[in-house]
Symmetry: C2
Subunit: 407 residues, 2 copies
């Protein structure tokens, strides 16, 4: 392939590391000027592509300090979208996208995202092959959920796990300051896979003070067993702390966080959907009668860039670079992936077939969950520990972190 332009986009839920990957892509493009002429960025993923919402990145990031700042910026600096490409290649959408590619002389497309975004990569690659358009399309993984297949872990997960572990350790200190019997339920993201909630096990492993119980969506939830486990924990000490995935379900498949069965409606007549931490708190209050508090970590777990994991950020930059290098070598329709080496922690960066990843979900394996389904195993903790290692240096202005905001 002759000299061509490249374009990069971001998609799906934000993470603290997705801009580090963008930085990696920019660095590698700037370092390969003999092959890549101009690097463009598309705003809000393929949604912006269809609107021709495209900016030039090559010139914008000549300054190394600006790239450093980009790496420390949470969420998608280019904006994101949640759009799914149609199944039929006859759809006008494909023609439109490739017209834009043609207009900007695009020979390389890099798409940073989760499993839905890999579906986009797969479809665009197949369409390009069908119509004979010469382009190399590479998917670059990111998601705090850590639920992509064919990779040891996903960039973005390590930082989210570090935020969760740190926050849980601080909540544990807070809870320990009172002598009154109390239970605190911490609700962590994870609709189908419990990876993020596993990170709540780290304070006990590292500092020796930890949560008492951990519940993941991979195991069916029983309220009776739960109450009995909480009672047992309260016999051991007065401040019980529990970590729970938002997506845990009863045996009948209903989410524990749904109160649909109560038929309750709010002031506006809406059916009330509580979070799982609120539902469990209420159950504890009713069945045990002690003080109880529900904490939802909410958006913070995916955007708290002030607590990035240095390992995560370094890997995120590396996979961004690797995507460009692989494309230059002629690969297309592939996703960059991380393979963990045996022994002391390190990763090898490789690429995998995009169709082995697109639309698939990787769950927490059985060997990571204890027999009672209310904590994780040593194997799980050993998997997690290297991913949260190291702190990144931050630039502060007047006491607040400084970001790179792309207008």
């Amino acid at each position: 392939m002759l000299r061509a332009n490249a374009i990069v986009g971001q998609s799906g839920g934000p993470t603290s590391a997705i801009n580090a990957t963008l930085s990696g892509v920019i660095k590698a493009c700037l370092g390969n000027k003999e092959r890549i002429n101009t690097l463009y960025g598309v705003k809000n993923g393929i949604e912006g592509l269809l609107k021709d919402d495209i900016i030039e990145l090559s010139g914008m990031f000549c300054d190394r300090n600006k790239l450093k700042r980009l790496e420390a910026t949470p969420s998608s600096a280019l904006g994101s979208c949640r759009m799914r490409l149609p199944e039929s290649f006859n759809d006008i959408v494909y023609r439109r996208i490739f017209d834009i590619f043609k207009k900007y002389g695009i020979g390389y497309f890099f798409y940073i995202g989760g499993n839905d975004s890999m579906d986009t990569v797969s479809k665009l690659d197949k369409y390009a092959r069908t119509c004979g358009y010469g382009i190399r399309i590479i998917g670059i993984p990111k998601t705090i959920d850590n639920d992509l297949t064919e990779t040891d872990h996903t960039p973005g997960y390590g930082s989210a796990a570090k935020y969760i572990a740190t926050t849980v350790s601080e909540i544990l200190r807070d809870c320990a300051s009172y002598t009154v019997k109390a239970v605190t339920v911490i609700e962590i993201m994870g609709r189908d896979a419990g990876w993020l909630t596993c990170a709540a096990s780290l304070p006990k492993a590292v500092i020796g003070e930890g949560v008492d119980l951990i519940y993941l969506p991979e195991r069916t939830f029983s309220m009776d067993k739960f109450i009995s486990s909480v009672n047992k924990a309260l016999e051991r000490h007065p401040n019980v702390v529990i970590a729970v995935s938002e997506g845990i379900r009863y045996e009948n498949g209903a989410y524990v966080g749904e109160l649909e069965q109560s038929g309750n409606k709010d002031v506006f007549g809406h059916k009330y959907l509580a979070g799982v931490s609120k539902v469990l708190s209420r159950a504890i209050s009713e069945n045990i009668g002690c003080k109880v508090r529900a904490i939802e970590l909410n958006l913070l777990q995916r955007c708290a860039a002030h607590l990035q994991s240095a390992v995560d950020i370094s890997e995120s930059i590396r996979i961004g670079k690797a995507a460009v290098e692989r494309a230059l070598k002629g690969e297309s329709g592939r996703m960059i992936s991380l393979e963990r080496r045996k022994g002391k922690y390190s990763v090898r960066i490789k690429s995998v077939d995009i169709d082995a990843v697109a639309n698939k979900v990787r769950y927490v394996p059985c060997s990571f969950i204890n027999k009672d389904g209310n904590y994780v195993t040593k194997e799980c903790i050993e998997y997690l520990l290297p991913l949260v290692l190291g702190e990144t240096k931050k630039e502060y202005k007047n006491g607040l972190p400084v970001y790179c905001i792309i207008k």
Copy 2:
């Protein structure tokens, strides 16, 4: 006063800086060995005093590194309580406390806490004077709420404000990544005073990206005006972010966060009390119909020591030291206080009469709130800015912050 022993306790809600003050007390006691023989710590404030739950601190903290670690530890390392001393000095409780003082040869009592704790200091000081027991009792302020009178601000507030400002800036980045019209409501602590919520104004002042609306308990809330303000903000841009104090009320005095009037009950028959962010989200959803998200910062704002303000920690240590120095000079029944100097930010440490502080609340002044009651003024931002300045250095082990845990 001859050589005597000293005792220190912590009380009320935890903060990220309360242990820095404890460190200041320990340092000053260790530095005045000719006057203070042994420094004891009481577990869980006066509750622990009554139970004779007392440990020796002098020996425990000879190591400077351990003090550094203590300063970085969130929540009350000695444990806390929420106990109010009886009004009548004839109560057995007073006799019991002073018997304990006698048993340990206590000539100095330092109590770190909020306005309830200052009530304890006031009562114990008066009782001591009544019965002629020679002891010097000093109150040392702490509270994230910043609602103590007779001090420019309270130690603990700066770190909480820094956490809130940083977190809000990250949420703003997250929200900016989508193009769909959406409103995010961030609920911040503050039942009666809106100081913490004011800190949500800092990202706009420092980084240029900020929340659209700020609501404090100091102003009566009107749902109609609120919806109209949100609509106006949505005309300007698609991602509206709102900061709101948990304690805002309607004109009739009812908390907005209460859904009592709906008569709703949950599955267990409890009257349902939603948080204010949930109530406002529901109102937006009903009246405007856009996507909406409620975020409750919850405990994190008082225990997130990984985001301490360096100014706050430095002042917290200084007031701890000042308490010991003032006691040695003969003061008793006083609270240490911070006075802001004119010009470039600095504080003078002084002491004030405890009865001018105990049981009183300081509200956000009128001049800090805009005319419409939905944002803060430049004067407020200028007051806030110096308090969040600087970052503290942290000790990490395996990717997690290390704490000083006193057993």
